[in-house]
Symmetry: C2
Subunit: 224 residues, 2 copies
DNA sequence: TATTACATGTCGACC
DNA sequence: GGTCGACGTGTAATA
């Protein structure tokens, strides 16, 4: 990794056009060639960047001013004029062992799939990722009366997720072998508007507690 | 901005749980306190981060090992154990003058608004950003028969955009002065699922060619 | 390769 | 603070 702190101006042209006027910024060049330009504030997103693969071409103009021209094969171009280099530091880091995550949607789905009987007595899982023409339903179950129940799982339950489940229900209810299919919208957090929309459409909401799901003890989950 | 290169392990707990095993990484601390941890590859997204506002607490354990504990008021916690510091560099950068952008959806809307007659003969623009209680419709037009047409414009046409237009159409069709209102879903690129859903709902799809719109010559746009 | 849906999405605008 | 829509979204999995 190479870290250059410099007074610079930057132009990007590609998916849109963008310009950065002269200021001191950090220019980060990673081992794979990707490059990002950071200001001293504003979260982690860089002001400009160019992902790998790309090619970096360095040149010097008449005024001894350094320019980096970064291009890729998608017609994107990043031009960095380095007016004054304040610091230039390189360090080899090797390959990162990588990030282990726990608690993303796939994990929630796995846990809930193993505990559908906790949603209501007699509920059984038919299958995960039940396929339809408009995409897979997270969980398809049958309740104690043998009626089909489609479950959509989100980490954050917003209005889009309710729309998505509604589409699945529309679709599934056209299938004579499944009809009638009811819906459960399950999420760690359900936004008020999503809850209102779900209830308006006869979809039940289920608030998931990750720790509770992980712990075996969990009581019955609370449907409402 | 402070740049620390160190052999470190990191744990994040908050929206999910994540763990980074020991390796050499860059730790970036910006002037606003936000912090990000970068590996030497993998585009611009850091492995872990914590946005401002937060509070950073530094401590030393029995083995003289440095730990940074970063917390915020949303119950997120980032723990960085610094086993060995290879480099520690600070530089004041001042406030960045900021990024100027040019050429996104607003531009597409502008171009299409000026060329609604190219969509079909006799089409006239009623207004851009036609207001409704559930948000503004990108373009409201009337066709050669005087019937209202709502147009939703996207750079990338996905299923959500079709839902959005559907909501507008539901709403507009309750208005006796407008009814019947038909819909056109216009985008530079339309995903297959979005197209299927649109057609299922009687919404026409319109593929926009940015260069063609910009060039005055453009033939009639092709509705399908 | 392209298509899809997730993301600690982030970010801004508006209410 | 919550919702909504755009993003140079990026990214991984899947077909």
């Amino acid at each position: 990794m190479r870290l250059v702190i410099a007074n610079c101006t930057v132009d990007y042209s590609g998916r849109l056009d963008a310009h950065l006027s002269e200021a001191v910024r950090l220019i980060m060049v990673k081992a794979d060639g990707c490059i990002s330009i950071h200001a001293d504030g504003g979260a982690y997103k860089p002001l400009n960047w160019m992902n790998a693969p790309n090619s970096i071409h360095e040149s010097t103009d008449d005024d001894d001013e350094l320019t980096w021209l970064v291009t890729n094969d998608k017609n994107e171009k990043l031009t960095i004029k380095l007016h004054e280099i304040i610091s230039d530091f390189s360090q080899d880091m090797g390959i990162d062992p990588g990030l282990q995550k726990d608690g993303v949607e796939a994990h929630l789905q796995e846990l809930l799939a193993a505990n559908v009987d906790k949603i209501s007595d007699g509920m059984v899982l038919v299958r995960r990722e039940y396929p339809t023409d408009i995409g897979p339903v997270d969980l398809l179950c049958r309740d104690d009366k043998g009626e089909a129940v489609a479950i959509e799982i989100k980490r954050r339950g917003e209005i889009d997720g309710v729309e998505q489940l509604s589409r699945y229900l529309d679709y599934l209810n056209r299938d004579g072998n499944l009809r009638p299919v009811s819906g459960i919208f399950a999420a760690q957090e359900i936004k008020p508007q999503a809850r209102v929309l779900a209830e308006d459409r006869g979809i039940k909401c289920l608030l998931l507690d990750y720790d509770e799901l992980r712990g075996i003890e969990s009581d019955e989950l609370k449907l409402f």
